[in-house]
């Protein structure tokens, strides 16, 4: 994304590239079904049923998603049912991505073991270790980037990027267009759910008197 400026239109039309290559063949009804499933899972007292992930895999995905959007003073990935959304997606519109998870989770776990010998998987790491692991995926070229080049980190990076993209999708997809029906993500970012809005929209256009012509010199400020 370093050249976002010139690729701006591309970015808008494609989202980011990792996302573009992954969620390719969705069908609208399956997406709704994934959302309904996530909602059902989030509301149910029964342990939710998984369609693709094993319980262990789900725990790993959930642990990473919960680091991306932690549950603190506001709801996070867990409350939005992110792992269930992804699980359902992988047996419906995102079947092509099953391999991403099947291959990616072991690579992530190998990376965890490299960094912290004796820790077998991400979900078994302490919160501080989990932070260290995710920081190993930072971009070192950015100021403040804290990437630590542990062995195996590069191999696990693409999987982390995919999982991060999927987590953002599950968290922020329009709640009325296939996303988390409780709209946890939209509440967080302050995006109101209505489909229609009226001016004034924000702080700065309140009380705006309407455009008024000013008698100005048309040549002022010209190069």
């Amino acid at each position: 994304m370093t050249t976002m400026n010139t690729n701006r239109r591309e970015f808008l039309l494609r989202g980011c590239s990792s996302l573009g290559t992954i969620w390719l063949s969705a069908h609208w009804p399956s997406l709704l079904s994934a959302a309904a499933h996530a909602r059902h899972a989030a509301q149910s007292v029964e342990p939710p049923k998984l369609s693709f992930f094993t319980a262990d895999q789900a725990k790993e995905v959930d642990a990473v998603a919960a680091c991306i959007f932690p549950s603190d003073d506001t709801p996070g990935a867990r409350e939005a049912g992110v792992v269930y959304f992804i699980d359902r997606a992988l047996v419906t519109f995102a079947r092509d991505d099953q391999k991403t998870y099947r291959d990616g989770l072991p690579v992530l776990q190998a990376h965890v073991k490299d960094m912290f010998p004796g820790v077998e998987k991400f979900s078994a790491a302490t919160p501080q270790q989990q932070d260290e692991i995710l920081h190993s995926f930072d971009d070192p070229s950015k100021a403040g980037g804290r990437r630590r080049p542990f062995r195996g980190g590069a191999a696990a990076q693409p999987f982390f990027e995919n999982l991060r993209a999927h987590t953002i999708v599950a968290f922020l997809l329009d709640p009325d267009a296939g996303g988390d029906p409780n709209g946890v993500g939209w509440k967080l970012i302050g995006r109101e759910r209505e489909h229609t809005f009226q001016a004034p929209f924000g702080y700065y256009d309140k009380g705006y008197p309407g455009w008024q012509a000013l008698p100005t010199d048309a040549d002022k400020g010209k190069p």
């Binding site: 400026n5 690729n7 591309e10 969620w23 680091c67 993209a165 997809l173 001016a199 190069p223």
Partner: protein, 554 residues
Amino acid sequence: MRPDLPKYKTSDEVDFVIIGSGAAGGIIAKELSGNGFRVVVLEQGPYLTEADFTHNEIKILNEDLLTNHPKLQPNTFRKTPDDKAKLQRAVVYGRLVGGTSVHFTANFWRLHEIDFIERSKIGPVPGATLADWPITYADLEPYYTKVEWEIGVSGQAGASPFDPPRSKPYPMPPLPVKSSGVLFEKAARTLGWHPFPAPMAILSQSRPGRSACVNCGFCLGFGCEVGAKSSSLATAIRMAEKTGRCEIRPNSYVHRIELDANGRAAGAVYFDEKRDVHMQKAKAVVVCANGAETPRLLLLSSSKQFPNGLANSSGLVGKYLMLNAGGIALAVFDEPLNDYKGYAVSRIIHDFYENDPQKMGFYGGGGIDARFDLTPIGFAMGAGLPPNAPRWGKGFKDLLSHNFTRTTEIFAHTTSLPVENNSFSLDPDVKDAWGLPALRMTYKDHPDDLKFARWLTARGMEILDTAGAKQKWTFPIEEQQFAVHLLGTCRMGNDPKNSVINRDHRTHDVKNLFLCDGSSLVTSGRGQPTMTIEALAFRAADRITDLSKRGEIA
């Protein structure tokens, strides 16, 4: 209520077959069928309607519900003709009835007088083939007015001191201002510039069968669910169908224009949805397939008579591609703007539309707009976040929570010079899903285009500074490798040696073959081409009707 729609047989020789149903094709279909001609429109994409549109970002932005699909129709890209092109998505356009006008931003600036005569005014620019148009602003003015009134554009006449003359005011007032527009307007005025309400092809007042904009916030990239965006789908296509003489035939992928023994266009050969091949016969062919697919179709239609591509005696089919350059600046303010509500752009400036290259040290012109066109997923993926933003954890959450409602953008839109090497052509190796040569893009921005884009983006940063932005950032402006504005590839001109079509949009080489879309443009304008493409389409339809009535086509 849908009118009775005609179904023509492919063996019926209709008056016109039009290839493409977008900004130009829709209007030409409306005009020609309204003038009594029998018209078939062949559109490669599906016939979707408002009920099919959705706010689902994944389906729209990542699965190409409305756009050309890179798996079915791959592109290749290279910077210069000496390079080997690589498989890479290079072009996005609307692939459905209504074309790119379905998902566009709907900025509807007219060109100014200078755009048509710039070569005469400033002389040659080294490394480019800048040329005057064979028509002037005055020739096109009545048709700009037609677009505003018949298709529906909101705006405020007289608000910009730089506007060219107009024969009529806008048919409806500007859309309500956004917080970004207010900040922009105040700051630009402080700097001594002349901000004004953006002319937008979005209804501020309802029209029969179409709602005024409801400010839903899913605009650029999305199809309008209430018909407020003045796409060809919501306007011209429906008017064409009402005549009872126009058939819109979707899922029809034209890959060849056939000539008869006399070297005249006989019809269009296409794949239907099942990939069966048909030929629609017609007395004349009008290609409005966009600035990428129109030259590609001509190149695919080579024959003994035209070994280098149909209507390509000049060798210029596909050349002089112009994309428009530009730059983005983003900023965060103290209070919520809620700029996600509403359409994209509410205020613009044209103070730097025309500049003196001698004083500047380089060629270029442009306009700056205040906008917000990011939707939640794209914003969080990184498009809306400052450099070095956290990508996960509490910091990420807090940033999204604070910034989403407080962020806005400035977009500087600028010129591209016509450079002969910049082109669309047929890739010699890569094929699409139908076995046809893929579209190959060759592009390297003229150095002046990049210099001016940087210069104008710096003016955008000044506006953000003056507006009191708490944080602001921009991105490096580098050579483009991706095209949305597809301009100049079958340029209009009086001399058959250095242009593809004449001032009537007729190809110099084939009497009953006309081209009208972004490919017709001689210069790039300042970044908002669709208004001009539509005005050209109204004018082309007038010219074609006139020629036909005088018996000069058949």
